[in-house]
Symmetry: none
Subunit: 195 residues, 4 copies
DNA sequence: CTTTAAGCGAGACGGTACGTCCCGTCTTCTT
DNA sequence: AAGAAGACGGGACGTACCGTCTCGCTTAAAG
């Protein structure tokens, strides 16, 4: 029963939303996260600052939505083996993090989220949630096949995978080892398999 | 035979150095990384801002040195098994990251390092170097025992371990799973062992 | 028909302007010109520094406007004699320079104006312009009465009068000879009269 | 009988004194009074800052001595007429003020002297004293010749002359009217003559 | 002929002010 | 009511000087 607000007065212009999101992505790639100020975003988007603050609470939320909203759509991989599924999942993470705007935004974004108690609680829920969901499905099928136990810790593995990818892409910055996903998946898959 | 510079003029007062480092650690724990401004550090240390800038190029370098300089001294673990050595190594990482000042500083510090091309190259060299050295020694002994191959990728494993710990402590923020080191070590050790 | 600019955005608050000007006058009288920093002015006025810099380029312009804007309104004296007119004019200069804020500001203000090539050209135009205009009118009437020639050099006399007053008030600092205006006017009037 | 101090320890090197004075004059002409900092002077002179502070109390005293010490030597003019003597005296003032270092220093120097109660009292005594002495001698002879009364106010005339020259040279900055001395002397002489 | 004291170049020291940038809020007019 | 514009109070930035201090060294007079 989502009651939409009464909606009096002038409705929000959806073109502003798009212009802002576009400006954020451009600025992230051009000047980095720190220099992507709300004022600069608004100016680039041809929009007033209030129009930004009316839609987002601050820079972290704005950047997060601008950068990480196209990714929830990937299908859960189903290659028939745990290692294969993990490789596919990881490759998705790598691709997502490797986009110029995302790579530029990630470290600063995580820092801002970590610094705010309110935002910190949302990291798992909103930042890694889609990946976690897919990882859980992968584990479920692997457990059915008998490759792993049914109590394999999803969070531990997810943190491990995400942390490894983050360290490679966010902090080293070079175009990463193209085999990163496969090699990492192999180690983890072997590490959690039964026997 | 390192020839120290001729050292003309008044030498720098080591008490200033200590006072600054102490102020940084206090402020990190009290107000966090973002609010730990150079000006606040100088005021807390009873020191002029120039005295800070004379010794460090900026906040990232200052905080890094203030927080992560006591750690290079840990001995390389030698428990007789790969899993045991990894657990000990990881526990060191966890302990290091878990200190209040370190936990408060880590995400912002990594973001600032990642944003600066010059600093980014130093991350591996100075931030993870001691851990990498110890990990390599652990791998060497494990290879001699026949537990792993001699070509086991140190960097991949180090990123994986550090990333996992960082994600747990820096981003979740709660007092982490006390068994984190052991569980993670078990997975990785099994993942890289021969057979 | 001065067409004011389109005036988009929030207009500047005239109360800020008044608060700043008031703070400048208070600080000049209390701590002098050198210690009247922009930061102190802003703090005293309860205003951000940008609000000051948005209106004035720097301290000299700010102080000049704060101190010397009430004076353009004096009427041109017309006592019937050159000496009388000069006395009245000089008394106006003395009164203007003698105000606590003005006396405190004058030497430093002239120094800052003199040091900047751009500002230096404005001294005559904006600082002495009203006085020059009145002096020219006085000379014109005196020439019509036959007291002086029509080619009497206005600038020379103006510099002489202003310089004398400045030296007395700005540099000696004591409450000056109350007869200064009259005695100086007598000398100058006699010096430029025909015969 | 001024007893020179016992003079123990190493005597002051007179070459430092000369180097400092030379550096002040160079810097005044090159970068102006405001930018002629004690630190810059010391660096230019190849001298430590303390060596400057040991000899002078601060910038105003230093600059004053560096710029206005060669002038006390001019002889008192004696042309036979008041106007002639005044012209010669004024030309001396003009020449003194017109020197690049002096013209650059004057406004700021007067401002600093005026701002300090201690220094302010010295202005007449040390800054204008030589000129005042000569002017008094000129007046005495003119009174003996019957050109002026014996009660002609020396200070008033001196302020008037100095103020006019200062305003012309210090504030306008252009190379001044070469006839300034003569024209101004004519006006003043006529203004104070009997009849 | 050594002590002692001051001068000296260098530069670190605690402060203060600079002028700029960005924050998130507010106030105007326009749509 | 939303929007573009931009002013607002606040605070941090990194730099430049201030006038004092602390080094190691040099230079002379005093003991």
């Amino acid at each position: 029963m989502s009651s939409s607000p009464p909606s009096r007065g002038r409705p929000r212009d959806p073109r502003s939303h798009e212009a802002i999101v576009g400006a954020v992505n451009e600025l992230l790639a051009e000047v980095g996260y720190a220099a992507t100020s709300i004022g600069a975003v608004a100016a680039r988007a041809g929009v007033g600052k209030d129009t930004v603050y009316r839609r987002w609470r601050g820079k972290p939320e704005l950047v997060f939505e601008a950068v990480f909203t196209t990714t929830d759509l990937a299908p859960t991989p189903d290659t028939g083996t745990l290692a294969g599924d993990l490789t596919a999942l990881l490759q998705g993470l790598v691709d997502e993090f490797e986009a110029p705007a995302a790579a530029a935004a990630l470290p600063g974004l995580l820092a801002d989220f970590a610094a705010d108690p309110v935002l910190r609680t949302r990291i798992r829920d909103h930042f890694l949630a889609p990946s976690k969901q897919r990882l859980a499905a992968v584990f479920e099928r692997a457990a059915e096949r008998g490759e792993i136990g049914s109590d394999t810790p999803v969070d531990l593995v997810l943190d491990t995978l995400a942390g490894a990818v983050f360290f490679h892409i966010g902090l080293v910055g070079e175009s990463p080892d193209p085999q990163l996903a496969g090699r990492l998946a192999a180690v983890i898959a072997k590490g959690i398999e039964i026997r």
